[in-house]
């Protein structure tokens, strides 16, 4: 299946292709070096000159990854939490005593790291001793609030907000169903979860007001906030779906904006860090850059046949890394 986009502007010639040894499940940047996270065992570090090298960091599947300014944090089915630096050197941050899978990891302010194994979420921070939270069911996702040491934990029938450094009781936001991914809005006013159903749920944190965002054809597996936080970009439909979060009510009572319709579902989204532009990776391998304002598209990669499973921008927004289920990957240089 191919998607004919006609004669739109293309960045295809500005792309350095990388062939990874397996499925790329996530991508991150440390400076201008792209880090492709493979489904099994290893990271692929792609330096700005296009040189790539693979470093083995886990003894099995890599189930989760997150980045802060200096490190990539990964969790594996080997029960280990590993931090890897730009030079490829890795160190074990922790391990599960029962060797359970590390299902989720998150990075927070001042080098804080959180991970979960089953129902147990753990936070380690230089400004607090290691703390453990037992969720009522298996943890579906973790996210640090943009400010302060506060962790959101998604689980069955809601999400819990927890201050690991304080004695205050965790606060539970209830909504029926299985909540998987979780994300704070950049201004910290809203918390959004992806659900087992093809829908998102959200809460306005000031008053716990519920936000329901539905209408998707598939489970939403990827979401990201636009630069400035006015829009929430999501996968789950054969187009880019953007929910408006600029007003105090967020998307309450509003329709989402939809752009860049395609033949395959949007699988992965990543917002440009400075402009209102979203990179969208589709199920057929197509990657588009989409300007939110007018829906204008730029082709970043022609359809390859394999779903795009990873997208990431560097912090300047000059480089875009993409990776696919078949290991096909590349770095688009916009600089």
């Amino acid at each position: 299946m191919t998607d004919s986009r006609g004669n739109i502007a293309s960045l295809v010639e500005r792309t350095a292709l990388v062939s990874a040894a397996g499925t790329v499940v996530a991508a991150h940047f440390l400076g201008d070096t792209a880090i492709l996270v493979l489904g099994e065992e290893a990271l692929v570090l792609v330096s700005p000159d296009g040189q790539s090298r693979q470093v083995r960091i886990h003894g099995g599947a890599i189930l989760a990854s997150a980045a802060d300014a200096n490190r990539i944090i990964t969790g594996g089915d080997d029960g280990r939490i590993v931090a890897t630096a730009l030079d490829g050197a890795s160190a074990e941050l922790g391990s599960d005593s029962k060797r359970r899978w590390i299902d989720h990891v998150a990075t927070g302010p001042r080098q804080s790291v959180a991970w979960s194994a089953g129902r147990q979420a753990t936070v380690r921070s230089p400004i607090s001793e290691e703390r453990v939270f037992e969720a009522p069911s298996t943890v579906g996702g973790l996210a640090f609030a943009p400010k302060g040491l506060r962790l959101a934990i998604a689980h069955y029938n809601g999400a819990t907000l927890w201050f690991p450094g304080a004695q205050a009781a965790p606060e539970t936001l209830a909504w029926k169903g299985s909540h998987l991914g979780v994300a704070f809005s950049p201004d910290g006013r809203f918390l959004v979860t992806t659900m087992q159903e093809p829908a998102l749920h959200g809460w306005r944190l000031s008053d716990g007001q519920n936000l329901r965002m539905s209408g998707y054809g598939a489970r939403v597996r990827s979401l990201d906030w636009s630069a400035g936080g006015k829009w929430l970009a999501t996968s789950g439909a054969p187009q880019l779906v953007l929910w408006p979060f600029a007003s105090k009510d967020g998307p309450m009572g509003k329709m989402p904006r939809m752009c860049a319709p395609a033949q395959a579902p949007a699988e992965t989204v990543a917002c440009h860090p400075k402009q209102e532009v979203v990179a969208v990776g589709y199920g057929d391998g197509l990657v588009l850059l989409v300007r939110i304002d007018d829906g204008a598209e730029i082709l970043a990669r022609e359809p390859s046949g394999a779903p795009v499973t990873a997208l990431a921008w560097n912090s300047q927004g000059t480089r875009l890394a993409f990776g696919g289920e078949d290991g096909g990957a590349g770095i688009v240089n916009l600089g």
Binding site: G22, T23, V25, G39, E40, G60, A61, I62, L63, D77, R100, W101, D103, G118, S137, T138, Y156, W175, K176, G177, S178, M195, Q196, E197, A199, A218, R219, R221
Partner: protein, 347 residues
């Protein structure tokens, strides 16, 4: 489609012999590599890096339908296992003795991400011949596990007499005439009878005529036609004939219908959707092969409770009998109404 990882679901009441079967699968040389999702971790005597402990987490879907449940832990674990998909050929999911197989099966239909990469191969139910009779009376889970099964092991047969065995088998068939039943003592059965069955391949199931049990005195077009509704169901009863006793379970039945003329899809889909919306809690499983008018491809579907999944399967072959067949297994099914509804779908 064939690159989907096959998943065998192993159910059975406590002590029936699931672990015996699992240990055989993991230890015998058969050239296949299995990833195994177990509940009672300690019981597995095999050191296999792809044995994953799971806690059964039944999650209701947030769609107002109480029978739409999935196994949340399976969503997570299968997603994780798929990152290592080159390392195994198939997945086995062992459920606890009390488990309802529906959420496990529904997980493969409800979660597109899993359905794209894995498919249900068969539900295999291990039963304990000595205790099955009692469990069928006091444990609804035991009956569900039989109703859901594609393959049933009537195990520990050395503990009961021969005539009791044939009675048990007849009782199983009274609940689920479509499953393949094997009598075993220590789950001693060629593993090929249990694994890679492709039992969800509907052809096999639809070829089985449930009628063969009912003896010559019954209408062969519609299996249960004419002998089910006037009866008092306070007690199990049996019909002689055909060599095997035929039990009707007082609450669990199957219904098999066929129509020789093509169906109108614009009538069939609204009807079947409406039926499973209303009767979903009572319909444990349904399956069908359909012939639509002006359509040269076979349409196949299957469902669990309210969830239906269907697609064109392949072109009808030269000389193939283009008939439509549907099968329901469930509780207190409104058989006459289903039959009339199905017949109203003719083009």
């Amino acid at each position: 489609m064939s690159d989907k990882i096959p998943v065998t679901v192993l159910t059975g009441y406590l002590g029936a012999g699931k672990t015996t079967l699992l240990n055989r699968i993991l230890s015998e040389p058969h050239g296949k590599r299995y990833a195994v999702i177990v509940n009672e971790f300690g019981d597995i005597g095999i050191d296999n890096e792809l044995v994953v402990g799971a806690e059964e987490e039944i999650f209701e879907m947030n769609n107002g339908c109480i029978c739409c449940t999935v196994r949340g832990d399976l969503v997570r674990i299968i997603d994780g296992l798929m990152r290592r998909k080159g390392r195994f050929d198939a997945i086995i999911v062992e459920t606890t003795g009390l488990a309802d197989p529906a959420p496990v099966a529904q997980t493969f239909f409800m979660d597109a991400n899993i359905g794209r990469r894995a498919k249900l191969d068969a539900v295999v139910t291990v039963t304990d011949a000595k205790w099955l009779q009692a469990r069928l009376k006091d444990a609804p889970e035991a009956k569900n596990q039989i109703a859901f099964a594609d393959v049933i092991l009537l195990n520990k047969t050395d503990l009961v007499a021969t005539d009791e065995l044939s009675e048990l088998e007849a009782r199983i068939r009274g609940i689920n005439p479509y499953a393949k039943v094997h009598q075993t003592t220590r789950c001693d059965i060629p593993l090929s009878e249990v694994l890679a069955r492709n039992a969800f391949d509907l052809d096999r199931i639809m070829e089985i005529e449930p009628d063969f049990l009912t003896g010559p005195d019954h209408d062969h077009e519609h299996t249960h036609d004419g002998h089910d509704h006037a009866h008092d169901h306070n007690d199990d009863h049996h019909h002689p004939g055909g060599g095997l006793k035929h039990y009707h379970d007082e609450e669990m039945q199957s219904l098999s219908l066929k129509l020789a003329a093509p169906l109108d899809p614009d009538k069939f889909f609204p009807w079947v959707q409406d039926l499973v919306q209303k009767e979903g809690p009572n319909i444990l499983r349904c399956k069908g092969i359909l012939s639509f008018k002006d359509d040269d491809e076979r349409f196949v579907f299957q469902g669990v409770h309210m969830i239906l999944d269907g697609d064109h399967q392949r072109p009808w072959q030269e000389g193939e009998n283009r008939e439509s067949r549907i099968v329901f297994i469930g509780r207190n099914l409104p058989q006459e109404r289903i039959k009339a509804g199905f017949e109203s779908c003719l083009a």
